[in-house]
């Protein structure tokens, strides 16, 4: 599966993290991505490791696991994985295992940080997504 630039743009636009980025900026984001594949059963993110990239899943399904708790979530096509540790520079909080063969777009930390530092529109839209996500988790708090 080799994704064209326009297919990458559609994939990125469908993901929560990138959905607010203006269309004219999206092509530059798409061009930063490398296409990667992982086999079923492959553990491609290990909790505790330094976060050096994020992934946008193009096809397949993954399991997100936290030590001591087992599987905490599933990831599927369109989901972004690993963005938190490359933005916050903290170690990976969870591990990720391919439940099926998967294809993903990979953006390295260096490229992602450069993109954000050079492009306010991209950064502001990601900021808005992160703040909304934080607000959603606050709404779920119980007394």
């Amino acid at each position: 599966m080799t994704l064209s630039t326009i297919e990458r743009v559609f994939l990125l636009q469908g993901s929560e993290l990138f959905q607010q980025i203006p269309a004219q900026e999206m092509v530059s984001v798409a061009q930063l991505c490398q296409e990667v594949t992982f086999k079923k059963g492959e553990r491609f993110i290990e909790a505790g490791d330094e976060g050096d990239c994020l992934y946008i899943l193009a096809s397949g399904e993954v399991s997100i696991e936290v030590k001591g708790h087992g599987q905490v979530d599933n990831g599927k096509a369109g989901d972004v994985i690993g963005e938190m540790s490359i933005i916050s520079s903290k170690p990976r909080a969870a591990s990720c295992v391919a439940l099926t063969d998967i294809t993903a777009l990979r953006i390295t930390r260096t490229d992602f940080r450069s993109l954000m530092e050079e492009n306010s529109a991209v950064t502001l839209s990601i900021l808005e997504v992160i703040v909304n996500r934080h607000d959603d988790t606050l709404q779920k708090l119980r007394s």
């Binding site: 530092e117 950064t123 900021l127 607000d135 606050l138 119980r142």
Partner: protein, 414 residues
Amino acid sequence: MNDTTTLDKSPFLRLAFQGLDDDELQEIAGLTEFNTYPPDHILCYEGAIEDVFYILAEGNVIISKKVGEDKTERVLRVGEKGDIIGEMSMIQNLPRSATVRTTTECTVLEMERQDFEAILSRNPRMAIDIIRITLDRMRSNDKTMIEDLQKSNKILRQLDRNKLEFIQVAAHELRTPLTVLKGYVNVLRSFAGSDTNASLGDVIQGIFKGTERITEVVNLMLDVTRIDSDTLKAASVPVSLKHVIEDLVKKDLGKAIAERKIKIVLEHPEEAPYFKGDPGLIQKALYQLIVNAVKYTPNTGTVTVSTHITTMDNDIPCVEIAVKDQGIGLDTEHHELIFEKFYQVGGVELHSSGKTTFKGGGPGLGLAIVRGVARAHGGKVWVESAGHDEEKFHGSTFYLQLPLQETKSLEQKA
């Protein structure tokens, strides 16, 4: 901090925005003003639309939010020197999502909304810093939520253990007087007068039936305490499912099924599933499934019990028993919960109207027993139903899968 007029803003801004250089911090400093507030002053009101962004220079604040159905005020975090406050609502263009109150005298750097929006749009590194701060807060919240959940789980597990212990004690306490009662009823039945006196005979029969029903409920309670414990071990002996099901339908439940005029259809493959398991436990599980099907099917309806060989999700060969009724059906929200002890759909019936009376009440333990038996064998149980409807009677189908250890039929073994 009494005199802020000549104070350098940079140290506080550097604490807040660790990724910015001196020039960027100077630019922000130019857009902020110092202000000092006494303790117990509200900087932000939850739900209000406010146009100020704060950087805490000195002092402490509490950030709290109304949560839950009863809107209890819950402290989210304590803000201290270097914290930024009020940025979320301005980025989202929404009212404040939390209340911020000073707990000590506080000195803050304040920035108006239009300046905040302007500098954010031309300085992506400031936005990156705010993203980093927000993600740190989210991690901290996640940690708090996990700890809260773990505490709640611990309490729930203890309550569940308490419940089981109570059921066990109650069941044993009831068993002793029941044994005495049954003994006396049998003595009464043997008196000469009980045969000839119709009224006396009816009374004795009524007491006998009532005693039998209480015995069934007490046995159910004891079953659930045994089956629900982690120590339950299922035996592994040859079991003929076909015979177990036929005995249940014709002998144990035959009379009740006939009274309700329910048609029972049995479907077994020619090579009848014959596998290794615990015959006592399997008989209990199938009994509960068939009783349930009969209970929720109106008179003259049909209950179909079928078995066939298939594989479970992890490709392990298994026998699947399906009990399909033409009853009132079950809404999706109950599909998982009905296997919990005491869970009842709809109002709890406060009288026992008999185990197979249409929609009759019960203690709500039968399906918990089925699940316990499934788990003891390494299998699973679930239900499929289009939903509750007492006009169209969609019905429900309960599936019980039990892993196979051998698949030879009884005929082949013979």
